[in-house]
């Protein structure tokens, strides 16, 4: 039994291979870009606008509001990274309504790649905001004793990000696949609906967590230990 779309290999040459994960990701990229181009091709700047433009505006402003809600001062700056995380994960989950589709986020490779991107992006944003010294100094807060724990936290949360999304998406697809063999009618549909819901929740969790990590990294005033704040905020969404 195939656990992830990684196993679906279309073409291989040495270690270079074109598996289902990459192909479905390309599909999502194509759909997102084409949709964005189609809608933004004739954007109206006055008071009357098309429904699709309205939808996209709601999505974009909603993401901006969420980023600002986390505590980032200039949400537009992080919109590209965080917004794309959310959209990619959400569209990947929503695509499960299409028969034969397998979400690329059900592959640990994809989620690991996304988690690695977050792992790299957080220090980059932090250094951009506070400088190399300032950012590195945050690892020794509140005391130098916390340095190893902070580093462990940094690594473990990246791992957690990757595994959490992979587990949720993979399990959703897996449950449907198993159920299809047991009760082919009705029940898989209900589970697909549940999978859509968990997919949306996971998209939200993933991007919000990334936002929280970035917010902790770019926080300049050392009143609170950034790691503590991050932990405080991470605990709440993961429970949900």
């Amino acid at each position: 039994m195939r656990l992830s779309p990684d196993g679906l290999v279309f073409w291989q040459h040495g270690f270079i291979k074109l598996n289902g994960t990459i192909v479905f990701t390309w599909g999502i990229m194509l759909a997102l870009t084409a949709g964005a181009i189609l809608v933004t091709r004739k954007l109206s700047t006055d008071l009357k606008r098309s429904r699709w433009q309205n939808l996209l505006e709601i999505v974009v402003t909603g993401i901006v509001t969420q980023i600002a809600g986390v505590g980032l001062k200039h949400p537009e700056k992080y919109l590209g990274f965080l917004g794309t995380l959310f959209l990619f994960v959400a569209v990947a989950a929503a695509g499960t309504v299409i028969p034969g589709y397998e979400p690329p986020t059900g592959s640990l490779s994809t989620t690991a790649a996304l988690a690695l991107c977050v792992f790299v992006a957080v220090p980059l944003f932090g250094i951009e905001e506070q400088g190399v010294r300032g950012y590195l100094a945050t690892y020794t807060k509140p005391t130098v004793i916390m340095l190893p724990f902070n580093i462990i936290s940094e690594l473990s949360r990246t791992l957690a990000l990757a595994v959490r999304l992979f587990g949720n998406m993979m399990s959703g697809a897996m449950i449907i696949a198993i159920l299809l063999t047991i009760t082919p009618f009705i029940f898989p549909v209900v589970m697909t609906l549940l999978g859509l819901l968990t997919g949306m929740v996971q998209a939200y969790i993933f991007s919000i967590l990334a936002a929280v990590y970035i917010a902790a990294a770019v926080r300049t005033h050392p009143a609170k230990a950034p790691g503590d704040v991050a932990k405080e905020k991470t605990t709440q969404p993961t429970k949900g």
């Binding site: 270690f15 964005a36 006055d46 919109l79 794309t84 995380l85 690329p104």
Partner: protein
């Protein structure tokens, strides 16, 4: 194998590409559109606010102007009323005065007319009276009357006052020319002789006398000697009487003109 490093790298690259694509085609245009719209809305709101303020200002302006206009109109109206009142009074006064003047003038004209008529009637009457008298006396005067007149003449000559008699006598005696006795009609010889006698007797001298006829005397007789005149004739009476009557009439006309002049009381009425 759950983790495939090539796939991880490819997915990371895919994600970064997607980030760029989304930034390029989704976030930037949408945010720009929203910004533009917000600016537009803010601008329109500001414009609306400005227009409202302008409208309010214009309304206030208009109200003020309206009030000012009302006030001005009331002022003008009251002023015009006062002016009309004054003008009316003036015109009424002027009209009354003109009417008074006209009345006075007409009265004067009437008086003048009446006076003129009176005068004309008087003059005409006088002329008529004298013309009738003259005519009657001319008709009546004959040689007989002349004789009678010569008698009267001789009597009056004899009864002449002493001083007149002396003056006339001197004149008769000193004059180189003969005395002239003028009558309207040819005197009869008897009458001539009587006059000659009367003269001779009165002045106790031989008086040379020449008799002449003068019809304009109407009736009567006169004696001219050395610039002295003595006599008696109707024409003289008539002329004398006419002269006195004319004097009387002119005096009366003057009095009437004085009394008929417009009095101050009449003017102010």
């Amino acid at each position: 194998m759950l983790l495939d490093w090539f796939t991880i790298a490819a997915q990371a690259l895919n994600f970064l590409i997607l980030v760029w694509l989304m930034k390029r085609f989704l976030y930037r245009p949408i945010l720009q559109a929203i910004d533009t719209r917000e600016k537009l809305i803010a601008k329109e709101l500001a414009e609306a606010e400005a227009k409202r303020a302008e409208a309010k200002k214009e309304r206030d302006d208009f109200q003020q102007r309206n009030e000012a206009f009302d006030r001005q109109r009331a002022d003008l109206l009251s002023k015009a009323e006062a002016e009309v009142k004054v003008q009316r009074q003036q015109w009424l006064d002027a009209a009354r005065q003109a009417a008074d003047e006209l009345t006075a003038k007409r009265q004067t004209a009437l008086q003048t007319d009446a006076r003129n008529l009176n005068e004309a009637i008087l003059i005409r009457t006088r002329q008529e009276v004298f013309s009738i008298a003259r005519k009657v006396l001319t008709d009546l005067a004959t040689a007989k009357l002349e004789e009678r007149m010569s008698e009267v003449f001789t009597r009056r000559l004899r009864e002449l006052p002493a001083d007149q008699k002396a003056t006339l006598g001197d004149a008769l005696k000193k004059s180189a020319e003969p005395a002239v006795v003028r009558t309207a009609f040819e005197l009869a010889t008897g009458s001539r002789a009587a006059i000659q006698n009367a003269l001779n007797e009165t002045f106790s001298a031989e008086i040379r006398v020449r008799f002449e006829t003068a019809p304009d005397l109407v009736g009567g007789i006169e004696l001219t000697a050395g610039g002295q005149l003595a006599g008696w004739n109707i024409a003289e009476y008539l002329a004398d009487m006419e002269k006195r009557l004319a004097e009387l009439l002119s005096a009366k006309a003057a009095t009437v003109a004085q009394t008929m002049a417009p009095s101050p009381a009449l003017k102010s009425a």
